[in-house]
């Protein structure tokens, strides 16, 4: 059965690491949905959050293949029920028509987003949430005329004291 999996990996924060990781995705044929990466809690380390669509076996293999990479310090699958998963999206919509503009403002309110930029022709919305929430917002507003969408990909942490980290 195909499912979505969220994997957190602590990696060395240095040039070439993203290449090695993405190379492995290609080489082993993983169907990657998103990769989010940024500095982690310790210096010289970054955290990657990877989401894939696949079967149980794919998730096991992905974690194993990540751990096999020398630059990956630790990798683990996160249980979506026990993790905080968030994505940030910036969505620029056509908003010249006052009726549409008011609809956008209404939806943004419902989705607890923010209008971060407005021009006479457009409005840019910031939405934070799960992938599904952002997908839903985009689907709702698609008919207004989507100008541009920029999404970070999901990033995630385990809830509570448990963590994917190593001690110094």
């Amino acid at each position: 059965m195909t499912k979505r999996f969220v994997i957190s990996a602590l990696v060395a924060h240095k040039p070439g690491v993203l290449y090695r990781v993405s190379n492995m995705f290609w080489r082993r044929g993983f169907n990657i949905e998103s990769v989010a990466i940024g500095a982690a809690e310790q210096p010289e380390m970054a955290r990657m959050t990877i989401t894939i669509k696949g079967e149980e076996k794919d998730a096991v293999q992905l974690v194993g293949n990540l751990e096999k990479l020398i630059d990956v310090i630790k990798a683990a699958r996160l249980d979506p029920e026990k993790a905080v998963i968030r994505e940030l999206a910036l969505i620029k919509l056509n908003a010249a028509d006052p009726k549409i503009r008011s609809d956008i403002f209404h939806y943004v309110d419902v989705f607890r987003g923010r209008i971060v930029d407005v021009s006479p022709e457009t409005a840019t919305v910031e939405i934070v949430g799960t992938k599904d929430k952002i997908d839903a917002f985009i689907n709702l507003t698609r008919n207004f005329g989507l100008v541009e969408v920029a999404r970070t990909g999901e990033t995630a942490l385990i809830r509570g004291p448990e963590s994917v980290r190593i001690d110094e």
Binding site: G16, Y19, N23, Q61, G64, I73, I166
Partner: protein
Amino acid sequence: MVKMSGAKTLIESLERERVETIFGLPGGAIMPVYDALLDSKIRHVLVRHEQSAAHMADGYARAGGTGVCMATSGPGATNLVTGLDTAHLDSSPIVAVTGQVSIPQIGLDAFQEADIIGISGPITKYSFQPRKVQDIPATVKMAFHIASTGRPGPVLIDVPKDVQVDTAEVDFPSKVEIKGYQTVFAPDRSQIEKAAKMLAEAERPFILAGGGTTLSNASNELQKIAELLLAPVATSLMGKGSFPEDHPLSMGTLGMHGSREANQLIYEADVLLAVGCRFSDRTTGKLDEFCSTSHVIHIDIDATEIGKNLCIDLAIVSDARTALNALYRSLTKLLKTRKATQWSRKIKEVKDTFANKIENSGKELTPPKILKELRKLLPAQAIVTTEVGQNQMWASLYFKALRPRTFITSGGFGCMGYGFPASIGAKVARPDVPVIDIAGDGSFIMTENSLATSVLEKIPVTVLILNNRMLGMVAQWQRLFYNRRYSAVKLGDVPDFVKLAEAYGAEGLRVGSLSELSDTIKRSLKSEVTTVIDVPIDPEENVLPMVPSGYSLKEVIG
């Protein structure tokens, strides 16, 4: 702290790893290192093509140790690539050093610039590009550590030319730490006990030993378990030699060109113990039908091999030796000795049946006869390498390997041109034993210029060419599966291998009968110079038995 150049630092770091030999070929971007090499005790073996340098390092590694090869930037580095992937697929520990253009020129498409870090990414275990002289000692230390521990593999160190030339105060660490890199995998106790129980209760246990058995030096442990369980042992091509093939429990190799007994009996097993193998398509045949009715226990040091190809029942993530040791201890608690069972009688019966079936065509110089003759003439510790193609599969089927690390072949990558340079590397590692390359003409030609290296560096080996003047394995497939439509397989009568050998200062001999072959091999084993023995064989000869690609191992032809 001492002040020295990057090149000198590199050489000293290699010396500290106890490197005795480097196989390589210089060029512009590695000249400072070659200059520093002149002041070192390390022996440099000059190749005529960098691919051979990588294969020599690989052959050296498989005979025991970590092999080192070196090349310049750009084409020098890319010529290593085929050898790196060969080592990668067979988990062979080699360290490759390449020159690189100076740092300010990287990315500018400078002369002889190649992104070897990018190119080698998927085919090495890791690759480094030290950007400061001070980084070199730890880099070299890490490279050897990574190459030789865990699941071994090739590591590349790409050194920009300005880093070779720069000088700095350097410090040589005695230890390095690589965060998150695990080298020791203690087998899970409860899994070991479960495995012992499954095996002790099995009526028809069967063991499949792969290359990991050889890499972790687990042959003794393997043999003890096989003898305790009275379980037949087949090996993958990479595992060949990990279990003595003259042992009554030896089934030879399994797979596309496996022995009849292995391919038949594995389907009758109720529990399969697979050790350090990865269930490659050439070993398992059609995967859906492979061991579909038996329980499978899989021991491997690489967790990603568990369940990658085959769904298994019990996994033990550990190096083969540690796991087999623990398993043996657990087994002895459950079993003292085992008396001959119906299964052991069956094994003997099947083995005997097929032993008598061995080709008895009227021809004198058939590959099975040649290889059996070769076995008779060689001591058990002699090392055999093979080229790739029919010669390799004949060797796998008909040359019995008696000790680990005495059968060296490009298994996973199937790299033509491998055997001859690998034999030179193996001979450097083990000058005390005879080394023979079982060759085909097509494969030997690919790296035949290593004759120069072999002769001038006084590294004598024997090359036994099973010469059918064909790309024989492709021709065989065309005969069997393409209605005998030969496409691009005929190599013709050139070169004359006797003259070719002589042109390089090696000995070249052609033989036409088994007794001549025997005399010639004996002579070559005493020779101080490399001998090329050209044995013309029938170009129509097929390697049999064979399981066609994509079929179950039960569907043997021939």
